[in-house]
Protein backbone atom coordinates (compact mmCIF):
# COMPACT_ATOMS: atom_id res chain seq x y z
CA UNK A 1 0.00 0.00 0.00
CA UNK A 2 2.78 2.31 0.93
CA UNK A 3 4.46 1.56 -2.35
CA UNK A 4 1.31 2.45 -4.36
CA UNK A 5 1.04 5.71 -2.49
CA UNK A 6 4.63 6.47 -3.28
CA UNK A 7 4.10 5.82 -6.98
CA UNK A 8 1.04 8.06 -7.09
CA UNK A 9 2.92 10.85 -5.39
CA UNK A 10 5.82 10.56 -7.72
CA UNK A 11 3.49 10.55 -10.68
CA UNK A 12 1.76 13.77 -9.71
CA UNK A 13 5.09 15.46 -9.12
CA UNK A 14 6.30 14.37 -12.53
CA UNK A 15 3.12 15.61 -14.16
CA UNK A 16 3.51 18.98 -12.50
CA UNK A 17 7.10 19.27 -13.63
CA UNK A 18 6.09 18.34 -17.15
CA UNK A 19 3.34 20.97 -17.16
CA UNK A 20 5.77 23.63 -16.01
CA UNK A 21 8.27 22.66 -18.68
CA UNK A 22 5.58 22.83 -21.34
CA UNK A 23 4.53 26.30 -20.24
CA UNK A 24 8.14 27.52 -20.24
CA UNK A 25 8.73 26.04 -23.69
CA UNK A 26 5.58 27.66 -25.05
CA UNK A 27 6.65 30.97 -23.60
CA UNK A 28 10.09 30.70 -25.18
CA UNK A 29 8.55 29.84 -28.55
CA UNK A 30 6.21 32.79 -28.26
CA UNK A 31 9.17 35.02 -27.41
CA UNK A 32 11.07 33.77 -30.45
CA UNK A 33 8.16 34.45 -32.79
CA UNK A 34 7.48 37.97 -31.50
CA UNK A 35 11.20 38.74 -31.52
CA UNK A 36 11.67 37.58 -35.08
CA UNK A 37 8.44 38.52 -36.75
CA UNK A 38 7.02 41.49 -34.83
CA UNK A 39 9.50 43.63 -32.99
CA UNK A 40 12.54 43.31 -30.81
CA UNK A 41 14.57 45.62 -28.60
CA UNK A 42 18.13 46.41 -29.64
CA UNK A 43 20.87 48.24 -27.83
CA UNK A 44 22.80 50.52 -30.14
CA UNK A 45 25.89 52.47 -29.30
CA UNK A 46 28.75 54.19 -30.99
CA UNK A 47 29.31 57.49 -32.74
CA UNK A 48 28.12 56.58 -36.23
CA UNK A 49 24.50 57.69 -35.87
CA UNK A 50 25.06 61.00 -34.06
CA UNK A 51 23.04 63.17 -33.64
CA UNK A 52 20.02 60.91 -34.16
CA UNK A 53 21.12 58.31 -31.66
CA UNK A 54 23.29 59.02 -28.67
CA UNK A 55 26.90 58.10 -28.28
CA UNK A 56 26.42 56.35 -24.96
CA UNK A 57 23.84 53.89 -26.11
CA UNK A 58 20.11 53.84 -26.81
CA UNK A 59 17.62 51.06 -26.51
CA UNK A 60 15.43 51.05 -29.58
CA UNK A 61 12.62 48.90 -30.88
CA UNK A 62 12.95 47.49 -34.38
CA UNK A 63 9.96 45.99 -36.16
CA UNK A 64 10.42 43.14 -38.60
CA UNK A 65 7.25 43.39 -40.66
CA UNK A 66 8.22 46.19 -43.04
CA UNK A 67 11.43 44.60 -44.35
CA UNK A 68 9.55 41.38 -44.91
CA UNK A 69 6.90 42.97 -47.10
CA UNK A 70 9.37 45.32 -48.75
CA UNK A 71 8.16 48.51 -47.12
CA UNK A 72 11.44 50.17 -46.28
CA UNK A 73 12.65 53.15 -48.23
CA UNK A 74 14.71 56.31 -48.23
CA UNK A 75 15.56 57.72 -44.85
CA UNK A 76 14.47 54.73 -42.79
CA UNK A 77 16.66 53.72 -39.91
CA UNK A 78 17.35 50.03 -40.25
CA UNK A 79 19.12 47.33 -38.32
CA UNK A 80 21.25 45.30 -40.73
CA UNK A 81 23.54 42.37 -40.32
CA UNK A 82 27.08 43.48 -40.99
CA UNK A 83 28.36 42.23 -44.35
CA UNK A 84 31.83 41.87 -42.88
CA UNK A 85 30.91 39.97 -39.74
CA UNK A 86 27.57 38.13 -39.71
CA UNK A 87 27.50 38.03 -35.91
CA UNK A 88 27.32 41.82 -35.66
CA UNK A 89 24.41 44.14 -36.31
CA UNK A 90 24.67 47.71 -37.51
CA UNK A 91 22.13 50.52 -37.28
CA UNK A 92 22.26 52.85 -40.26
CA UNK A 93 20.05 54.97 -42.48
CA UNK A 94 19.01 53.91 -45.96
CA UNK A 95 20.22 56.47 -48.46
CA UNK A 96 19.51 54.71 -51.74
CA UNK A 97 17.37 51.83 -52.94
CA UNK A 98 18.13 49.63 -55.95
CA UNK A 99 18.59 51.56 -59.16
CA UNK A 100 19.21 54.87 -57.40
CA UNK A 101 22.21 57.03 -58.07
CA UNK A 102 24.02 57.90 -54.88
CA UNK A 103 26.59 60.65 -54.60
CA UNK A 104 28.73 60.57 -51.51
CA UNK A 105 32.04 61.67 -50.18
CA UNK A 106 34.25 60.37 -47.47
CA UNK A 107 35.84 63.19 -45.46
CA UNK A 108 38.55 60.83 -44.24
CA UNK A 109 39.71 60.14 -47.77
CA UNK A 110 39.64 63.63 -49.21
CA UNK A 111 37.06 65.93 -50.70
CA UNK A 112 36.37 64.13 -53.96
CA UNK A 113 32.78 63.02 -54.34
CA UNK A 114 31.92 59.72 -55.93
CA UNK A 115 28.76 58.62 -57.68
CA UNK A 116 27.54 55.05 -57.83
CA UNK A 117 24.40 53.29 -59.01
CA UNK A 118 22.95 50.88 -56.46
CA UNK A 119 22.67 47.44 -58.11
CA UNK A 120 19.58 45.28 -58.21
CA UNK A 121 18.47 43.85 -54.88
CA UNK A 122 20.81 46.05 -52.89
CA UNK A 123 20.51 49.12 -50.71
CA UNK A 124 22.95 51.86 -49.84
CA UNK A 125 23.27 52.56 -46.11
CA UNK A 126 25.10 55.38 -44.40
CA UNK A 127 25.50 56.63 -40.86
CA UNK A 128 24.26 60.10 -39.98
CA UNK A 129 27.69 61.05 -38.71
CA UNK A 130 29.70 60.83 -41.91
CA UNK A 131 32.94 61.50 -40.07
CA UNK A 132 32.81 58.41 -37.87
CA UNK A 133 30.78 55.78 -39.63
CA UNK A 134 31.76 52.56 -41.29
CA UNK A 135 29.09 52.00 -43.91
CA UNK A 136 28.38 51.51 -47.60
CA UNK A 137 31.05 54.05 -48.47
CA UNK A 138 33.58 51.44 -47.38
CA UNK A 139 32.00 48.09 -48.07
CA UNK A 140 29.67 49.08 -50.87
CA UNK A 141 25.94 48.46 -51.26
CA UNK A 142 24.52 45.64 -49.16
CA UNK A 143 21.96 43.01 -50.20
CA UNK A 144 18.39 43.73 -49.12
CA UNK A 145 18.28 40.34 -47.40
CA UNK A 146 20.61 41.59 -44.69
CA UNK A 147 18.04 44.07 -43.39
CA UNK A 148 16.79 42.75 -40.09
CA UNK A 149 14.37 45.39 -38.95
CA UNK A 150 13.20 48.96 -39.18
CA UNK A 151 13.73 51.17 -36.14
CA UNK A 152 10.51 52.89 -35.10
CA UNK A 153 10.61 53.56 -31.37
CA UNK A 154 13.11 54.61 -28.76
CA UNK A 155 12.74 53.32 -25.23
CA UNK A 156 15.86 54.60 -23.52
CA UNK A 157 17.01 57.21 -22.53
CA UNK A 158 13.67 58.31 -21.11
CA UNK A 159 13.89 61.98 -22.07
CA UNK A 160 13.75 61.11 -25.76
CA UNK A 161 11.22 58.31 -25.29
CA UNK A 162 8.96 58.11 -28.33
CA UNK A 163 8.86 57.55 -32.03
CA UNK A 164 12.07 57.89 -34.02
CA UNK A 165 11.49 60.44 -36.78
CA UNK A 166 12.51 59.29 -40.21
Amino acid sequence: MKFVNYIAQWRSAAKEALDHTAITLKFLCWLHVTNNYLCSPTHVYGPSMLPTLNLAGDVILAEHLSPRIGKVGHGDLVVVRSPLNPNRNLTKRIVGMEGDTVTFFDPLRGDATQTVVVPKGHVWIQGDNIYASHDSRHFGPIPYGLIQGKVFFRVWPLDVFGRVDQ
Partner: protein, 169 residues
Protein backbone atom coordinates in the same frame (compact mmCIF):
# COMPACT_ATOMS: atom_id res chain seq x y z
CA UNK B 1 -21.47 26.06 -25.12
CA UNK B 2 -19.89 22.73 -25.89
CA UNK B 3 -18.95 23.66 -29.44
CA UNK B 4 -17.52 26.97 -28.36
CA UNK B 5 -15.37 25.26 -25.79
CA UNK B 6 -14.23 22.76 -28.38
CA UNK B 7 -13.41 25.51 -30.87
CA UNK B 8 -11.47 27.43 -28.23
CA UNK B 9 -9.45 24.37 -27.31
CA UNK B 10 -8.80 23.62 -30.94
CA UNK B 11 -7.59 27.15 -31.66
CA UNK B 12 -5.33 27.05 -28.64
CA UNK B 13 -3.77 23.76 -29.72
CA UNK B 14 -3.42 24.99 -33.29
CA UNK B 15 -1.65 28.23 -32.27
CA UNK B 16 0.67 26.40 -29.89
CA UNK B 17 1.55 23.92 -32.59
CA UNK B 18 2.22 26.75 -35.04
CA UNK B 19 4.45 28.60 -32.60
CA UNK B 20 6.50 25.50 -31.88
CA UNK B 21 6.82 24.64 -35.57
CA UNK B 22 7.96 28.13 -36.50
CA UNK B 23 10.47 28.26 -33.66
CA UNK B 24 11.95 24.86 -34.42
CA UNK B 25 12.17 25.54 -38.14
CA UNK B 26 13.74 28.95 -37.53
CA UNK B 27 16.25 27.94 -34.93
CA UNK B 28 17.04 24.27 -35.24
CA UNK B 29 16.02 22.29 -38.25
CA UNK B 30 13.69 22.53 -41.22
CA UNK B 31 12.79 20.77 -44.45
CA UNK B 32 12.78 22.59 -47.77
CA UNK B 33 12.14 21.49 -51.35
CA UNK B 34 14.87 21.86 -53.98
CA UNK B 35 13.66 23.30 -57.26
CA UNK B 36 15.57 23.20 -60.50
CA UNK B 37 18.64 21.40 -61.68
CA UNK B 38 21.48 23.64 -60.59
CA UNK B 39 22.63 21.17 -57.92
CA UNK B 40 22.18 18.06 -60.05
CA UNK B 41 23.34 15.31 -59.53
CA UNK B 42 23.55 15.90 -55.76
CA UNK B 43 19.92 16.98 -55.73
CA UNK B 44 17.28 16.48 -58.38
CA UNK B 45 19.12 14.12 -60.71
CA UNK B 46 17.32 13.98 -64.01
CA UNK B 47 14.68 11.27 -63.87
CA UNK B 48 14.45 10.75 -67.60
CA UNK B 49 16.96 12.32 -69.96
CA UNK B 50 14.46 12.46 -72.81
CA UNK B 51 11.91 14.69 -71.11
CA UNK B 52 14.43 16.51 -68.96
CA UNK B 53 12.08 16.85 -66.00
CA UNK B 54 13.34 17.07 -62.44
CA UNK B 55 11.69 15.46 -59.48
CA UNK B 56 11.84 17.72 -56.45
CA UNK B 57 14.03 16.53 -53.61
CA UNK B 58 13.21 17.54 -50.06
CA UNK B 59 16.24 18.24 -47.92
CA UNK B 60 16.88 18.63 -44.21
CA UNK B 61 18.43 21.97 -43.29
CA UNK B 62 20.10 22.49 -39.94
CA UNK B 63 20.47 25.95 -38.46
CA UNK B 64 22.95 25.36 -35.66
CA UNK B 65 25.73 26.58 -37.92
CA UNK B 66 24.14 30.05 -37.78
CA UNK B 67 25.24 30.57 -34.17
CA UNK B 68 28.85 30.99 -35.18
CA UNK B 69 28.73 31.17 -38.99
CA UNK B 70 31.50 28.62 -39.21
CA UNK B 71 31.45 26.75 -42.49
CA UNK B 72 33.87 24.49 -44.26
CA UNK B 73 34.70 23.77 -47.87
CA UNK B 74 32.08 21.79 -49.69
CA UNK B 75 29.19 22.56 -47.33
CA UNK B 76 25.88 22.82 -49.12
CA UNK B 77 24.09 25.92 -47.84
CA UNK B 78 20.73 27.60 -48.25
CA UNK B 79 20.97 31.36 -48.67
CA UNK B 80 18.84 34.31 -49.73
CA UNK B 81 19.66 35.57 -53.17
CA UNK B 82 21.70 38.77 -53.10
CA UNK B 83 19.71 39.97 -56.10
CA UNK B 84 16.24 39.26 -54.77
CA UNK B 85 15.62 38.81 -51.06
CA UNK B 86 12.47 36.80 -51.66
CA UNK B 87 14.32 33.96 -53.39
CA UNK B 88 16.45 31.37 -51.69
CA UNK B 89 19.14 29.34 -53.41
CA UNK B 90 20.92 26.13 -52.52
CA UNK B 91 24.58 25.97 -53.50
CA UNK B 92 27.90 24.57 -52.40
CA UNK B 93 30.57 26.67 -50.68
CA UNK B 94 33.77 26.64 -52.69
CA UNK B 95 35.84 29.28 -50.96
CA UNK B 96 35.70 30.84 -47.50
CA UNK B 97 36.42 34.41 -46.34
CA UNK B 98 39.97 35.62 -46.73
CA UNK B 99 41.00 32.90 -49.16
CA UNK B 100 42.52 33.27 -52.57
CA UNK B 101 40.34 31.62 -55.09
CA UNK B 102 41.34 30.68 -58.58
CA UNK B 103 38.66 30.45 -61.21
CA UNK B 104 39.58 27.81 -63.72
CA UNK B 105 37.37 29.20 -66.46
CA UNK B 106 39.00 32.56 -66.97
CA UNK B 107 42.14 32.08 -64.85
CA UNK B 108 41.24 34.92 -62.54
CA UNK B 109 42.55 34.79 -59.03
CA UNK B 110 40.54 36.81 -56.57
CA UNK B 111 40.51 37.24 -52.84
CA UNK B 112 37.23 36.52 -51.11
CA UNK B 113 36.43 39.58 -48.96
CA UNK B 114 35.95 39.32 -45.21
CA UNK B 115 32.50 37.99 -44.29
CA UNK B 116 31.83 36.59 -47.78
CA UNK B 117 32.04 33.20 -49.41
CA UNK B 118 32.10 31.86 -52.94
CA UNK B 119 29.26 29.48 -53.84
CA UNK B 120 28.78 27.33 -56.90
CA UNK B 121 26.22 24.84 -58.09
CA UNK B 122 27.25 21.26 -58.75
CA UNK B 123 25.79 21.48 -62.21
CA UNK B 124 28.15 24.09 -63.59
CA UNK B 125 26.33 24.22 -66.90
CA UNK B 126 23.06 25.63 -65.57
CA UNK B 127 23.62 27.31 -62.30
CA UNK B 128 23.04 30.83 -61.12
CA UNK B 129 25.81 31.27 -58.58
CA UNK B 130 28.80 33.34 -57.58
CA UNK B 131 30.00 33.23 -61.17
CA UNK B 132 27.13 35.58 -62.00
CA UNK B 133 26.61 37.58 -58.81
CA UNK B 134 29.99 37.45 -57.11
CA UNK B 135 30.80 36.48 -53.52
CA UNK B 136 27.85 36.02 -51.19
CA UNK B 137 27.62 37.67 -47.77
CA UNK B 138 27.70 35.10 -44.98
CA UNK B 139 24.82 36.89 -43.26
CA UNK B 140 22.49 35.81 -46.06
CA UNK B 141 23.01 32.12 -45.32
CA UNK B 142 19.95 30.51 -43.77
CA UNK B 143 21.25 27.02 -42.98
CA UNK B 144 23.26 24.01 -44.02
CA UNK B 145 21.85 21.03 -45.89
CA UNK B 146 22.63 17.73 -44.20
CA UNK B 147 20.29 15.06 -45.57
CA UNK B 148 17.93 14.30 -48.39
CA UNK B 149 14.67 13.14 -46.78
CA UNK B 150 12.35 12.68 -49.77
CA UNK B 151 11.76 10.82 -52.11
CA UNK B 152 12.36 7.57 -50.16
CA UNK B 153 14.78 5.97 -52.58
CA UNK B 154 17.12 8.94 -52.32
CA UNK B 155 17.20 9.26 -48.52
CA UNK B 156 20.74 9.74 -47.30
CA UNK B 157 23.34 12.16 -46.01
CA UNK B 158 24.72 14.87 -48.25
CA UNK B 159 28.46 14.55 -48.69
CA UNK B 160 30.56 17.59 -48.02
CA UNK B 161 32.89 16.82 -50.87
CA UNK B 162 31.81 18.05 -54.26
CA UNK B 163 31.63 15.67 -57.19
CA UNK B 164 34.35 15.71 -59.82
CA UNK B 165 34.60 18.50 -62.29
CA UNK B 166 33.77 21.51 -60.15
CA UNK B 167 35.68 24.44 -61.51
CA UNK B 168 38.07 25.15 -58.67
CA UNK B 169 38.78 22.11 -56.52
Amino acid sequence: MGTRNFLWNFTKKFVTFGLITVTVSDRYVTVVPVRGGSMSPTFNPKTSPSTGTFSDDYVLVEKFCLNKYKFSHGDVVVFRSPLNHKETHIKRIVALPGEWFGNRQNNDVLKIPEGHCWVEGDNAASSMDSKSFGPVVLGLIRGRVTHVVWPPHRIGAVKSTPPEGLSSL
